[in-house]
């Protein structure tokens, strides 16, 4: 039955395919992390709207749009925003 089913609407069969679109090109300021100061609290990871802070707390510049939430929210000011 499923074999004969006609597709209606627009089906996208490629989960997570927005990864093709590198939104890092939007950025004018980039977050730079000072690993000496980092206490590993994970706040930047949780708040990132683009889910592009790794579990080692490094920003992924391929996708980071430079919103600056991580730098603003870091409780020990370990992240600074630097002009690209």
């Amino acid at each position: 039955m499923v074999k004969n089913m006609k597709s209606i609407g627009a089906a996208v069969r490629d989960p997570g395919s927005t990864r093709r679109n590198k939104t890092g090109s939007w950025r004018t300021f980039k977050p730079v992390a000072d690993k000496e100061k980092c206490i590993g609290c994970g706040i930047c990871y949780l708040y990132c709207p683009d889910g592009c802070i790794t579990l080692e707390y490094d920003p992924d510049y391929d996708y980071c749009k430079g919103c600056g939430i991580c730098a603003e929210e870091c409780p020990v000011k370990a992240i600074t925003m630097e002009r690209e």
């Binding site: 996208v12 997570g16 939007w26 949780l46 990132c48 996708y63 600056g68 939430i69």
Partner: protein, 291 residues
Amino acid sequence: MKGVDEKEYLAPGHRACAGCGATIAARLALKALGENTIAVSATGCLEVITTPYPETAWEIPWIHVAFENASAVASGVEGALKAQGKEDTNIVVFGGDGGTTDIGMQSLSGAMERGQNIIYICYDNEAYMNTGIQRSSSTPYGASTTTSPAGKESFGEDKFKKNMAAIMVAHGVPYVATACISHPQDLMAKVKKAAETPGPAYIHVLQPCATGWGYSPDKTVKLGKLAVDTHMWLLYEAVNGQIEVTVKPSQKLPVEEYLKAQKRFRHLDEEHIEIIQKFVDGQSKQFGLTE
């Protein structure tokens, strides 16, 4: 991170504005729900930014439907899964405030009244942001939007925000909660509770919007914290109608601190700020946060 699902269910590369609060809400909710989840999106920001055809940011099965029928489609998904004996799958609906409090209200009311086993998450940015910041019934008093513009003849939106959580409690929904993206652990705990609740669940998430509210994108979380700390937005859950506040701010800030941080409220004079303060004071009293 301890206790947090490390998998990403919302891939990067999506087209949300820098500092978007809706994607924070969706990303955290999906981490709480996990892989065994099917999502339904009403039309709105989240749908548009995550699925620019032929791409999708979703890593789980996802279906987009109109503003009006997201809850009806989720009810259908529930029935189809039931017929297949897959009753342990989470079914979650994401609707914006327009898609929830205005246009999708009827099908949402129907799904809740029928007791469908679905989780409805409203990501509330307090106006129709995707189409150009038109007011919705979730727009707060005094806010300037393109259809409630502040000017010589008007001070902005002249009605108070619709109390959607109370409407859901009135439906007899067993689990209703409010949340805010500035409090991620509280938000994720509530989404988990909603998933564990047999029958329907409703979570209303406030998420600041840099574009529509008028503030710098790095302040999205700060604005959420201010909303909670001024009591403009109260964080609570209602289990079988029993209301319990989950986050009690250590000190109550004046609403002006929240209002003056946003362009949409900057025209407000003392008289209107006082009206908002009075409204908020009544609310905090009602919820037992102040004497």
